[in-house]
Subunit: 344 residues, 4 copies
């Protein structure tokens, strides 16, 4: 592992840039592990994340169950100076860029939404384990799907995202990196794109965030359980909102506010995300509770992130325009976006 600290020049002169290249044993949990580096609010972190297979699946003949001992490594954890329980960590993703010109996907035994699983068991044999390789073209911004049992080939839009970003959980818990919950983790939502800001409640001193599981793209719900998995170069601006709690993960884009719920059954992930968004709207607009409920009922958007992980995720979104200029978290998203714009 090497961590290099430099100071940006030019338009964002004065911004401290931390370059961190992961080394040593991979990390598979949120919580329970000392930090690999220290970051100050206002710093920009540049790092690398391996794909969910730890880079071990490189051809269609590499079956994950044979070549992988563990899944979903994350890079980190990073200690944020001054972060205390009750604060909110803001992570603005300036860049999430594929580190290779290929991505891999697979069916995996007893994992996915259209198979019986470990926790929805049946007596049926598993589906075949099969691997697909995608060619990524950063120039055209496309991802090439190629069937395994015919010559069907089609180009899909590249839509890079991070599947897994989280902090150390509350209550002294340590969770596997494949688990999404209130601490973030394996949210697997395509909403976590470049240009967005993720807000996570801080549970332990230093927050101890980690990130990984890049996807060149994924469908809604990640139905087979695996996206177009891809190592990523990530640039993230880090900030801290002191003494503001965030109960569930939230995302801000240039045009939307998004709440994320993680639960089973899926309607509970829906309920959590919608209730969090209703409460957020109350806070930002001063609307009375049922008035906010009504507004979200007509203006809200929703989609599943994953319907395959230990907890399912759904997001609830509303256009900030609908909220007539309300500003979340003191304008953190706009400030961070401005900070890193020259660096992208």
């Amino acid at each position: 592992m090497t961590t290099t600290t430099t100071s940006a020049s030019g338009a964002n002169r004065g911004v401290r840039v931390i370059d961190h290249q992961p080394a040593g044993p991979a990390l598979y949990t949120f919580g329970g592990v000392p930090p690999v580096a220290e970051i100050r609010p206002g710093d920009v972190l540049r790092t690398f994340t391996e794909d969910c297979f730890g880079g071990a699946v490189r051809t269609v003949d590499d079956l994950p169950s044979e070549v992988c001992a563990q899944f979903n490594p994350v890079t980190g954890p990073f200690h944020v100076v001054g972060a205390e329980p009750g604060d909110t960590l803001a992570l603005h993703f300036a860049a999430i860029a594929p580190a290779r010109d290929w991505g891999m996907s697979a069916t995996f035994p007893h994992f996915g939404a259209l198979t019986s699983t470990h926790t929805t068991p049946t007596l049926q044999p598993p589906l075949e384990e099969r691997v697909w390789q995608y060619d990524l073209n950063l120039q055209t911004g496309t991802v090439r799907y190629a069937a395994r049992r015919s010559d069907f080939v089609v180009e899909l839009p590249l839509d890079a995202m991070l599947g897994t970003v989280g902090v150390a959980p509350a209550h002294g818990e340590v969770r596997q990196s494949i688990v999404p919950d209130a601490h973030g983790g394996n949210l697997d939502t395509p909403q976590l794109r470049p240009g967005t800001t993720l807000y996570l409640g801080v549970n332990v001193p230093g927050a101890l965030f980690a990130l990984g599981d890049g996807h060149a793209r994924q469908g809604h719900g990640e139905v087979c359980g695996v996206a177009v998995e891809c190592a990523m170069h990530v640039t993230v601006a880090v900030d801290l909102i002191k003494q503001v709690a965030t109960p569930w993960p939230r995302i801000e884009t240039d045009t939307q506010l998004i709440s994320i719920g993680a639960a089973r059954p899926l309607e509970d992930a829906y309920r959590i995300s919608q209730q969090d968004l209703v409460g957020w709207v109350v806070e930002l607009t001063g609307l009375e509770l049922l008035d906010a409920y009504q507004l979200v009922s007509q203006a809200g958007q929703a989609a599943p992130g994953n319907v395959c992980d230990p907890l399912y995720t759904m997001h609830a979104a509303i256009d900030t325009a609908v909220l007539r200029g309300a500003t979340a978290y003191g304008g953190a998203h706009r400030r961070l976006r401005a900070l890193v714009r020259p660096m992208r």
Copy 2:
């Protein structure tokens, strides 16, 4: 009730147009009732649908629990000449236009996703029953939200749709119009917009379809249980695809194929819609099953329709472009769209 049959002139000369104005007692079920009119494949039906309150909620002081004895009237049923079990009914919605310049919404006791309900009971008292009135502006294409407990007002896009379209169920069942299931019914999905074609499997001779529950717009999942409810003028072109079965409701737009699942818990609605779409892709492209699963996993879209009705709904969608020119149902959508284009 009056039903008038005319023959269109001009560009769609020769198309039989049936004008049906509902009269008599309202209909609250799918199945179990004789048809109000007969329609031939190729005909265009023009009709009117009342709102889910039967038009009885006209001011914010009209509480639904006080002014409505029943909910969700539908117009029909219509007998389609020649429809037999095992066929597919195609309904192309040329127009879904608000019949009034206002719409109503409400919270209703023990109904909605953020309250305990009849089937998710708790010991807590219900939320307050409250009504909101929306002004519709067809010129600007907007719907005006006005808070009840403050002066917050905001314009939202008009996005008219029908919440409830279905046929008589299979197995001799009769279902309330508020229930969505394999026969269609109260799907409450914003995907059912003007310009789309809905495909429903036929279960009884004549299909006996009915429609209603217009929404000037709704959020994803209809979280409070009630959309911007609005009476509608509807123009629908009717066709029949003989000897082709359709297990779950499907929608075709100019750019997408959409499967709809209805079930509880919500993940089952997701599973149904995704599995139906995977099978549809297999049929249209010749892709092997797991290859289609993989393609849908990366290219598929999904969102909840309702998370409040007796069964929840989700849709799974894929761009037809991804399927490299595959044509569903022998091109029924394009044919129907062309048929009615001059009439809109």
Copy 3:
């Protein structure tokens, strides 16, 4: 069909006995069908119910998917003179006796709790369809299980019950007989034994109750989807409790009060049954709501009926002794038991 009316003599002199032998086409729905016979409150009905296979599965080589066109026939419906919506029908099961010395069970494709199903679909092939034959010994009160792939044989206790008893549903609905819901129907709970009284809310004039689906025994949840299916001779005393509503099916035994919920997911069946029992305890004891909640929390019993039908069922039970002598429905259970005791 033949219906004979006689008057009992001896100890229950004066009780009208209606002997009804089903004939003609089998019935597969609750609702939508005219009655086959009329019964007065206080009458005793003696009838026959076919097994869920309509008697067509008679050897282990009779695969249900090949020999059955429909499943779960019920006997009825019976019109109860004077029954009106808002009343409660009381059915006391004096006898549920196997009509044959064998019963059949099976695995059925995509049906059961440990397989993917129509509404929890996966891409996996179905489990093998296989039939098991059980020898019933009424003398020893046993049911003989015999493995199909080895010589393992074991005797289980005979514990006869009816899987399906219901009335016509509310709101003009007609439901398949395999569906359990507030109207009763395919409850599939082993609690519906001889000696119990079932209470069902009346939704239509005459109640129109029907019954069938006898089981020589079943495990909790009916995990493979099929019990030891068996034709039955049934003796049931019928009574009416006027102007007392019953929202969900309830059972009274000599020692317990039982509420039944039907819903998906399974926790909602649990919630419904527990909430109904809490409310019933409030009504019978005068306990304040949370005090009753607390009492049921410590003294209540619960088990699944089925985890395979279109809606799952669970029951909530409490010993009447715990309620210090409270009497449900004006003592209907004790009165009906006394009425038929001489007839068993």
Copy 4:
């Protein structure tokens, strides 16, 4: 903390007895903490467990939300010498005896099955927080319920059990003690009575088991979220079954084999427990898979443990008599029972 080691005399001469009195800060997790004592296979542990309130709720005026900072302390963890991942830990509960003559229960805001909760949120206010005190009479074996809003009093049978027994989780996870899962934990099943043996798969060297959350009794599903909470004196004989894995918690009684599933939705807890039991029956009897499925379908019992914790639990049980003399885990239950019988 004091740990005293003595050697039993008399009938169980030679058995090492470890007396452990907890001291120091309470433990609220499984995993992540060094052991407090070391136990060898064959040892008997005598210890004390506080109630789920840490003993802080002593009168009906002590509201848990005011007097408790954390919930559900456990005693341990204990290191079992020689335990390795892939082994099974056997814990035979010779005694679970109330340590006080009173127990406490409560409604707690947004916790329980008949209220909205943290993960099934609604916009409704919480139920009232209220405390009930139970008098325990060890002589009569009864627990006295007393209403708070009336003078209703009733005696219920004492049926002491431990709600929480588990080992350190797999994959380096640390879980709160209120969570049940494959590692055991907060199973909250009344099946964990004196005289039973609990089998848990070992995930880390030494197993690191802990126990607590005694209940003087609880209803099925623990519907209000809180049982009759009671500090306990516990005597447990510890054994190790080397190189035998146990995927989900299992219990053996003198007459039954029991598998426990933990999941949401509740049907998944049912599926897990039934599938585990089917597999266990295959292993013990040599029955082919579907033959075992069929046998469990007719002979199996099931009930909910909790329907309120982060994961719900259900158990699946079968009488060992039905398995014609099959012996689980090499007869560990009978051996341990014999070992401690003289000590009870």
